[in-house]
């Protein structure tokens, strides 16, 4: 079947099977391999993208369902000149990533969190990340990075 959608602000079209997942279409159909697939039960969150502004696990949505939607992925987060956005920069500044595999999903989830809750507490950040697994960082620096990206005074809201 044929779909057309907007990905990171650009019109895209594709021929897909009915069973094609959005994650598979982004990776294999459009070559946007920044969206990662870390599980098959919608648990790990490495595949989180935004569909019409809402954080979605792209392994849990058919590509067909995104027909006509606006999809934002990790590739569209930095400025056109490559400058990292506030959340990406905070992850680098606070060592919020190690192997980098969960990172695209973490950044996209963090963006969704800060959109709905611009000044979250530590507990709110941790609760929001329920659906994003990281095996490298023990979450310490991810939580710090997101709190820092929210513009709060980090020493006041997080441990070192």
């Amino acid at each position: 079947m044929h779909i057309s959608l907007t990905v990171n602000g650009t019109e895209k079209t594709g021929e897909i099977e009915g069973r094609t997942l959005l994650s598979g279409f982004l990776r294999d159909g459009l070559g946007l391999t920044g969206t990662h697939v870390g599980c098959d039960t919608s648990q790990c969150g490495a595949c989180v993208v935004h569909v019409d502004g809402v954080a979605v696990k792209s392994c849990t949505m058919f590509a067909a369902e995104a027909d006509g939607c606006a999809v934002d992925t990790i590739e569209g987060q930095a400025a056109p000149d490559g400058t990292l956005n506030v959340i990406q920069q905070a992850f680098q500044d606070h060592h919020g990533l190690q192997c980098g595999f969960c990172t695209p999903g973490m950044v996209m989830s963090a963006a969704a969190l800060l959109k709905e809750n611009p000044k979250p507490t530590e507990a709110e950040v941790r609760a929001y990340l329920e659906g994003n697994l990281c095996r490298c960082t023990g979450y310490h620096n991810i939580v710090r990075a997101i709190l820092a990206a929210s513009g709060q005074d980090l020493p006041a809201v997080a441990a070192e």
Binding site: G38, C134, Y139
Partner: protein, 787 residues
């Protein structure tokens, strides 16, 4: 004042930019022209005889290129085991064959039976479902004690039994240890389980095999921690491909934690099939497939006895362990419960008599091999748990009991064959008590009790032998490989440097940390140094990254190669400056003649090396590129003290980690930010083991925890912020950087702290509970409280 560059600084990681912008290059991001896809049909029974595999209907399915079965691999080598353990009677371990695709029998759920290569992954999967397999079910061997019964079904018909080895360490000490325990004033005994774990790096394994008929060259792209080791094992032992015709590339790899060290069937299959079908062949593991095909970790059942004299000095330790090998021997499996476990049984303590017995057992389960810490967490857990139990029995403070028995003089030769070069266990314990605010615990407990909660404090120490090497020692212990590391430093004409390392980064930040070392040695900006790794075509033969070895062994090789560069550059500078080589000094990236104002810049020397117009060709070759292989004299011995504070809800048994503190001695530190991150991650995994994670088989060998729906991974709200400190460094005495390695410490040191804390909490509530096996789920804790 913290440094802003060089050794000891924390520059932002340069690899982060590509990972944060979605432009990393992981193996699954690689697609080769014309590639086909493989789907493995895996056994859904734990043990069975393969009577027939009928692929005829499947072969006619749309898109199928070819279907392979075990018959296609007759005459092809099996997956090799890289370590041979000799048992306590002097006999070699029992070592079964490990075919790429099952031949005759299947031996665990997930054992690959057939492989469908098709045009698309979906077509391969659909066709695999059409393969008709006739399997005669056999009784499954799951429990280790039952596996050792005389009448147990054998996992491997051609072996004598399910016993891989019965290992005694050190066998000659056995009688002395027995006597010391018999004569001791007090003996504390503890039986415990170190449960089976699944490493679960977030990136599932992937392999892409490729064959070029025009040249006869093979390429394998794979999610590996050690591409050269895969090239050697797969080339020499499985497929018979000489190393010069085989390139193995491990690009960006999304975490390893040990489970990506090993050579797997899927790698060999894709390489083999690429030639057979004359197309690149790609396999991407699903997470469910990973649970039944990635090597698992831990899975020990142990009885430990700690004997003390009347003054509470440790006099003897005796341990008996059953260690699960699974159905086959994974690449380094035999070394984990033996040498990586037994050599650490002294811990941080001066116990004169130690004997370790390990029986390694075959069962119808996924093979078990190294998982972050590998043997050392198992040693630490039992030792630090039994010490806590002894302290309670003797009514002494557990921290004081530890302090009393600390090794305090170095070097210290343990009764289990290793020699600690340096350390200061008192200093790390002092630091821990400070950062954990042990003094304030009583007040915090009071507050918890007022809120109806039980609060516990658990403290423990750990030591590990890491920086895995030296080759000679490892060889004496049964390793079938060397354990050195390599580096080539290539200086370009315009002065920039490329470091080609045999270490492999899968999250450790080598691309940032290694340049800090080289730049500091020469006096250059770190941006002038680039790191290349993960490709056998570009790096010298290296052994890869595991066992907290990258900086201690790989970094030392980089230091040695850079020293060679500097020595040669000084010769060139001496010529350019018309001075004696002995008078040349290197500082801040410039060469000068001692005592004069004559100098020449780094770039002038490197340009001269490649444009040798005015050059001492009679004395030295043009060019500036050096390689070094570094093989250390000893392991390194990071050590530390950890503290966990928990609250237990007496109504539900739920455990909440309130505080976690870690004081580590890693020797010198190159990048404190990265080191802290490594410790955080290890603690997260240790808390996961203590409270959440467990790989579960039923009595029939069915894997019950085969997805993230059933295997509880630690999430952000399961853990607190951690307080970590590594200021108590005692530099390693035998490597040029004085570093010890930090990758595994957190996972080694944290599980006993959590369990000690929970037991302390329950005891404070008047519950006579002296042990709960991990994971300490609410159900288990509640049951223990209400027993």
């Amino acid at each position: 004042m913290p440094k802003d560059s060089g050794i000891g600084a924390s520059p932002k990681r340069r690899e982060d930019v590509r990972f944060l912008s979605g432009t990393g290059n992981y193996t699954d991001d690689i697609n080769r022209p014309g590639q086909a896809y493989v789907h493995f049909l895996r056994s859904d029974v734990a043990h069975g005889r393969l009577n027939n595999v009928d692929t005829s209907a499947a072969a006619a399915m749309p898109g199928v290129v070819r279907i392979f079965t075990g018959a296609d691999f007759e005459g092809v080598g099996g997956l090799p085991c890289g370590w041979q353990v000799t048992d306590r009677f002097g006999e070699p371990m029992q070592e079964p064959a490990h075919p790429v695709l099952a031949q005759g029998k299947v031996r665990h759920v997930g054992d690959p039976i057939a492989a469908v290569v098709a045009e698309t992954p979906e077509q391969a999967r659909d066709a695999a479902e059409a393969i008709e397999v006739d399997i005669e079910d056999l009784p499954a061997v799951v429990n280790m004690k039952a596996a050792l019964a005389d009448d147990a079904t054998k996992v491997h018909d051609d072996l004598n039994s399910n016993l891989c080895y019965d290992w005694g360490f050190i066998e000659e000490n056995r009688d002395a240890v027995d006597a010391a325990i018999k004569g001791a004033a007090h003996v504390t005994t503890l039986e415990l389980v170190n449960q089976r774990m699944v490493a679960n790096p977030m990136e599932p394994r992937v392999a892409v095999g490729e064959f070029d008929r025009g040249t006869g060259d093979y390429t394998l792209f794979t999610t590996s921690q050690n591409p050269h080791v895969i090239r050697l094992l797969m080339g020499a032992f499985v497929l018979g491909i000489p190393e010069h015709k085989l390139r193995v590339v491990a690009p960006d790899v999304g975490g390893g934690f040990g489970t990506k060290i090993f050579h797997y069937a899927e790698e060999a299959f894709c390489t083999f099939a690429a030639k057979a079908v004359n197309r690149p062949v790609k396999w991407t593991s699903s997470r469910s497939e990973a649970f039944m095909s990635d090597a698992h970790g831990r899975d020990h059942v142990t009885r430990i006895e700690l004997a003390l004299d009347k003054d509470n000095n440790f006099v003897a330790i005796r341990t008996n362990t059953l260690a699960n090998m699974g159905a086959y021997l994974s690449t380094f499996a035999p070394s984990v419960p033996s040498y990586l476990h037994g050599t650490l049984m002294a811990g941080n303590y001066k116990t004169p008599n130690i004997y370790v017995n390990v029986r390694a057992v075959f069962t119808n389960t996924v093979p078990v091999d190294a998982y972050r810490g590998a043997g050392r967490p198992e040693a630490t857990f039992q030792l630090e748990r039994v010490i806590d139990k002894a302290a309670r029995e003797l009514n002494v403070d557990p921290i004081a009991l530890r302090r009393q028995n600390f090794v305090t003089e170095f070097p210290y030769a343990t009764p289990v064959a290793v020699e600690y070069d340096t350390g200061d266990y008192t200093a790390t314990m002092d630091k821990l008590e400070e950062i954990a605010d042990v003094a304030g615990f009583a007040e915090r407990r009071k507050k918890s009790e007022q809120a109806g909660k039980l609060r516990g404090l658990g403290v423990n120490c750990y030591i590990e032998a890491c920086g895995l090497a030296p080759s000679n020692l490892a060889g004496q212990l049964g390793a079938r490989a060397g354990l050195y590391e390599s580096a080539t430093v290539r200086v370009n004409a315009t002065g920039g440097l490329v470091v080609m390392t045999g270490s492999h980064s899968h999250g450790q930040g080598h691309e940032t940390a290694f340049p800090q070392v080289v730049a500091e040695m020469i006096g250059l900006d770190e941006s002038m140094v680039e790191v290349v790794h993960g490709d056998t075509a570009t790096s010298p033969m290296g052994m890869g990254t595991y066992g907290s070895r990258s900086l201690a062994v790989g970094g030392s090789a980089i230091v040695r190669a850079t020293e060679k560069i500097i020595n040669k550059a000084k010769k060139i500078a001496a010529h350019l400056l018309e001075a004696a080589e002995a008078d040349i000094e290197l500082k801040d990236g410039a060469f000068s003649v001692a005592g004069t104002d004559k100098s020449v810049a780094w770039g002038d020397v490197t340009l001269a090396a490649y444009v040798p117009h005015n050059y001492p060709l009679d004395d030295i070759e043009p060019g500036l590129e050096e390689t070094a292989f570094y093989d250390p004299a000893n392991f390194t011995y990071p050590a530390g003290a950890y503290a966990c504070e928990v609250e237990v809800d007496p109504e539900t048994g739920k455990v909440t980690i309130e505080r976690f503190s870690a004081a580590d001695d890693f020797g010198n530190i190159v990048n404190p930010m990265i080191v802290s991150g490594q410790v955080h991650g290890g603690i997260g995994q240790g808390i996961g083991q203590a409270l959440l994670e467990q790989c579960v088989y039923d009595d029939d060998g069915q894997l019950l925890s085969a997805s993230y729906m059933d295997y509880a991974m630690p999430r952000a709200d399961d853990v607190p912020f951690y307080s970590v400190d590594h200021s108590c460094g005692t530099p390693c005495t035998h490597n040029p950087l004085g570093v010890k390695g930090c990758g595994e410490a957190g996972a080694i040191g944290s599980p006993p702290a959590v369990v000690n804390a929970v037991i302390d909490a329950l005891q404070s509530g008047g519950k006579a509970v002296d042990h709960i096996d991990m994971p300490m789920s609410p159900a288990r804790v509640w049951a223990a409280m209400n027993a």
